[in-house]
């Protein structure tokens, strides 16, 4: 449906295309369903489970002792903003799985966080360098309101999949909905296919 009096005020043209229905944002908006979690680095830990069995566990120091990866990427939030050219440092999920000495899992993964947040993605979407635990944004320690000390980053999916204050990844054979997915948000969440809500 055309809105005849609407012409849009395009902001500076994105340096490369952004997904449908998105607009470009220069700032870094903060969105979360509850209070910012305050996590002491000394007490921070992270675990990976495969089919209910813990296969690896990392402290802040042991995470930082692993091979670090840098990623330059765009972010797309389901609330319609996109942010281009962000720089992150962290550890790929591949590196964590290799450190745990396990084979690459298949199926699905549920991310769980301090504060009770959860989100689900296919296992394939966190491997082959597609998913990382990140602790540094733009050269600085990741701020608590952006998910620090460590958040998950899966930049090819809408940003609610990049869970803040990450505690664990649980690989399973069955897909099940996380926090927003139970409220009607999409199980996969590909911004380029505009998969915002369940049946998109």
């Amino acid at each position: 449906m055309i809105n005849n009096k609407f012409f849009g005020r395009r902001r500076p043209e994105p340096s490369r295309p952004i997904p449908p229905g998105q607009y470009l944002e220069d700032g870094f908006p903060v969105l979360s369903a509850g209070p910012t979690q305050r996590i002491d680095i000394a007490a921070w830990d992270f675990t990976i489970e495969i089919n209910d069995k813990t296969v690896g566990s990392w402290s802040w120091d042991s995470l930082n002792a692993l091979t670090q990866s840098d990623i330059h990427t765009d972010l797309h939030c389901v609330t319609k903003w996109s942010k281009q050219d962000t720089d992150w440092r962290g550890v790929t999920i591949d590196t964590l799985l290799a450190d745990a000495g396990v084979e690459t899992p298949t199926g699905f993964v549920m991310a769980s966080c301090d504060g009770g947040y959860t989100t689900n993605v296919p296992a394939a979407d966190v491997i082959d360098g597609k998913g990382l635990l990140v602790h540094t944004y733009d050269g600085e320690p990741l701020a608590a309101e952006h998910g620090g000390p460590v958040r998950l980053l899966i930049p090819h999916l809408y940003l609610w999949k990049s869970a803040k204050w990450i505690k664990s990844l649980k690989f399973t054979d069955q897909d099940s909905p996380g926090f927003w997915e139970r409220y009607g948000y999409h199980m996969y969440g590909d911004p380029w296919r505009e998969q915002r809500y369940t049946n998109d």
Binding site: I2, K5, R11, E25, G27, G34, Y183, G184, Y197
Partner: protein, 258 residues
């Protein structure tokens, strides 16, 4: 808790436009397909230019879910906001708008919850909370409720008459307006404030002591909190409530703006 988003876009008709403040207009949209929603949910709006360019934004419903065939949205004029400026400058009664929803489900309130509730908002952050308070009012709920509403000036208090009327008639609803811009000394407003003629208003930002005093006034410690406003405001209010002893999982937040 499972919620189904109404998936399809529908065309709504604007039936009224009202200036609520110098920066906020209220739009009533009549829906072709009745869509039950929960107090606190939002709708997505989509505008399409003649050349095919599209823009989408989300707006919280301010009306009560007890009137599901129309929704009221509060749209604040944002500087360089392509959607808000269209609504403020071009939209008139009779215009058609593509919408879909309701969306969201966490930042919602129902009287079934029955827990004393504190709501804290800044500026147009009142929008989803207004729907909750109207719902509470229209269902005759006696759940104790406290609203701490931060605005710059009295003129920026959206829904002021309605909120004051609610507070006047309902002993279980407590209203505190925090005004962050100090009135000019000697102004009519400053005089009335000094003379105590303008009711329960605080001339400072919401802080811990204001929250504690309001809890005491409510007479019961809230077991659920809703905070809506700009990001820094929400951050600071959530910290106040955590420091006041509220549980992390009892605090629900909605933030807007970068």
């Amino acid at each position: 808790m499972s919620q189904t988003v109404t998936q399809t876009w529908q065309i709504a008709t604007v039936t009224s436009v009202h200036d609520e403040s110098s920066r906020v207009k209220l739009f009533t949209l009549e829906l072709a397909h009745i869509t039950p929603f929960r107090a606190g949910q939002h709708f997505d709006l989509r505008l399409t230019a003649p050349d095919g360019y599209q823009a989408q934004r989300s707006y919280s419903v301010t009306s009560s879910p007890d009137e599901p065939n129309s929704i009221e949205l509060a749209i604040e004029l944002i500087s360089e906001g392509e959607v808000s400026s269209y609504f403020h400058e071009a939209v008139e009664p009779g215009d058609k708008i593509e919408i879909r929803g309701p969306i969201g489900g966490h930042f919602t309130w129902s009287p079934v919850a029955a827990k004393p509730v504190v709501m804290i908002c800044g500026g147009s952050g009142i929008a989803p909370i207004m729907s909750m308070l109207r719902h509470r009012n229209s269902t005759g709920s006696d759940v104790p409720a406290l609203l701490l509403f931060s605005t710059r000036t009295v003129a920026d208090i959206l829904f002021r008459d309605e909120l004051e009327t609610m507070a006047h008639h309902d002993p279980k609803f407590h209203l505190v307006n925090a005004l962050t811009r100090i009135p000019t000394i000697g102004s009519v407003f400053a005089k009335k404030f000094e003379q105590g003629q303008i009711g329960r208003r605080e001339m400072r930002r919401i802080d811990r002591s204001m929250i504690d005093a309001a809890f005491a006034e409510l007479g019961v410690k809230p077991a659920r909190a809703y905070i809506c406003g700009g990001s820094d405001f929400v951050e600071s209010m959530a910290n106040h409530l955590l420091n006041a002893g509220m549980a992390n999982n009892s605090i629900r937040t909605e933030r807007f703006g970068p």
